[in-house]
């Protein structure tokens, strides 16, 4: 069900199943045009494999560009409302780019994995939580 480990190495993503949900931690410090395509591809494979409740831990990400943002939007679009992709613990600088592009209104963003998993476990609502 999982893609070969080499995929993971290229983008340095750590994956963990928790009940219904999959938590993926980005270990790469830069989500940019050279690393984002691998993230996008991996997320697409995971969703295709039936993982529809996803949490992406961004705590290690120091830099993101629009192709990094784009990889996440791509995954969300692929879900077509059937499931959710939530984000965990972006740094303030990274979070500021979600705000600037209004993507903070598109993604639900949580301070830690526990809260993200709780939100994914409850029936998915279309409205974002207070931020």
């Amino acid at each position: 069900m999982h893609a070969p480990p080499v995929e993971n190495m290229i983008m340095e993503l750590q994956e963990r199943i928790d009940g219904d949900a999959l938590v993926a931690t980005v270990l790469e410090s830069r989500l940019d045009a050279s690393s984002a395509p691998a993230l996008k591809k991996r997320m697409a494979a995971l969703i295709k494999d039936g993982h529809h409740r996803l949490a992406l831990d961004l705590s290690a990400v120091e830099f993101i560009d629009s192709s990094g943002l784009s990889a996440m939007v791509s995954a969300l679009r692929q879900l077509q409302g059937d499931g959710d992709l939530v984000l965990i613990a972006p740094r303030n600088t990274v979070l500021s780019m979600f705000k600037l592009t209004r993507l903070d209104r598109v993604f639900r963003i949580f301070p830690d994995q526990t809260q993200a998993l709780a939100a994914l476990a409850s029936p998915i609502s279309q409205c974002a939580p207070d931020r």
Binding site: R30, D32, S34, D65, S66, V73, S96, L100
Partner: protein
Amino acid sequence: MRTGSISLTIDSEFQHVFLVGIAVQQICSWIPLSDQSAFEMEMAVVEAVNNSIEHACHNQSGHPITTRMKLSEDRIIFVISDAGDAVIGLPEMPALDDHLASPPERGRGVQIMRAVMDEVAYRTDGTSNFVTMVKYLPIVRTEDN
């Protein structure tokens, strides 16, 4: 504060862009700009360089992309240049709140550049294309003795 100029040149491949980003971010931090502002400068420059690679050089390697950075007392000027295909201009700032229901996958680079910089302009001289971005600095007066 110190003034000076430097040109950062990479080949037109995404794998090299982080080196420009790191250099820009650290020079901005040194000025000093805040972490947030230095991050924003890095973002804008990385977006502009990515666009040169993708839209002007069509993801073909072998073309130099230069980021010229000029520090003066009251501003930082960045000029990103390539010898790739020219366009008439960059898109204007989009209406940010459109598409919230179905966000587009792409098209956020120029938006970020325009949001974090004080000036963004595009021009071409037929040979090279230039994206000029300017950030104004707060003027810090040293105490008069």
